[in-house]
Symmetry: C2
Subunit: 214 residues, 2 copies
């Protein structure tokens, strides 16, 4: 097999593409309101979204990066609402070959959603069960999953170490993220205010906390 | 297992969430410049991105939807540069249980990328080989993969039926999508001008063309 004739002028060195991308983001994005130890996480999320103005909507608590990183280093699982998030986690970056769990396709989910009167994404959150305590949660799709998580915590469930709460969309997304920000007692968290969010942002945040190296 | 106490006021009916989301998008987004048969595809992509202003950057050729839908109905494979795109395709929507192929983790990729002097994402495109002819291509991550595809076509490779070209980012993304738009002979395509793009947009476009039903 041979390479096609090069006809366009573009960067083909993966490491150099990353370097130039991160330099562009650092030149254009204003992340001054974020904790110093969250800067690389912010850069990764902006990279995944292609939008430097995302920085203005990013909210990361002072304790988020340390809490999430410590939990992963101790072997905590990653729990997510979306298979795309699980697919986007770079397994080689995980410090302890941590489990990455999405139960959306679990066979119990359809019936449970019907019983609970909620979405399958939300019902699947209840199936995390004992694994929730001390985990790193990443909600990258469904607002109902984030609301459901907060309701489980309010009912007394042992909390996760940290929450990446970036559901996307037009119905409930902004409101679910407001609920995360105002939840008491506060859970270390990262969120994107408003409608923007999604699985790529959630996965990139996970990849950034999994390893300090860019 | 019992449902947590409902503490927030939010929509929990999945079908109703979709209905309200799509209605919001149709009320706010201006898709008048797009082909009539691409309206549902545009709505799905906007839904995945959480941004109605994405419509202004969307470009969909008049022949794209028919070409992509006809190919899938005939059993054509979906070829993609990113595992997240493959993960986001709703298999139940596919008309012929079509193959969804991402070769990024193929064992031949690292050596081939080195030989070609390009990224692994681009090298993996060469491994599509004979499957490229008549396929539906979805590039949702790497600008180098889209450039590489156009170079293969310019060298005489049999073209895909349609291309979803929505790589994301700061280095080469906008340029690779300009190259797709100006490539001659034109391939039926969908793209998003500028830096925005990504696996969620690519997967949502695939899900929209896979089935007419919302």
């Amino acid at each position: 097999m041979k390479a096609p004739t090069r006809r366009y002028d573009y960067e083909t060195d993966g490491a150099e593409i990353y370097r130039q991308s991160f330099a562009t983001i650092r030149a254009e994005a204003d992340a001054a309101h974020l904790p110093a130890d969250a800067e690389k996480v912010a850069v990764r999320i902006i990279h995944a979204s292609g939008q430097v103005d995302l920085a203005a909507d990013l909210r990361i608590t002072d304790d988020f990066v340390a809490a999430a990183r410590t939990a992963l280093a101790a072997g905590a699982p990653i729990l997510t609402d979306a298979n795309m998030v699980a697919s986007g986690v770079t397994r080689a970056r995980l410090p302890r070959d941590n489990d990455v769990v999405c139960l959306l396709r679990d066979e119990r989910v359809p019936l449970l959603a019907k019983e609970f009167g909620t979405t399958r994404s939300a019902a699947a959150v209840s199936l995390w069960g004992e694994r929730l305590a001390g985990s790193v949660v990443a909600i990258g799709n469904a607002p109902t999953a984030l609301f459901h998580l907060l309701e489980l915590l309010a009912d007394g469930a042992a909390p996760p170490a940290a929450v990446i709460g970036v559901p996307v969309g037009f119905i409930g997304a902004a409101e679910s993220k407001e609920a995360l920000e105002s939840y008491a007692p506060r859970v270390p968290h990262l969120t994107v205010r408003g409608r923007r969010g999604g699985s790529a942002m959630a996965a990139s945040a996970l990849n950034a906390i999994a390893q300090e190296a860019e």
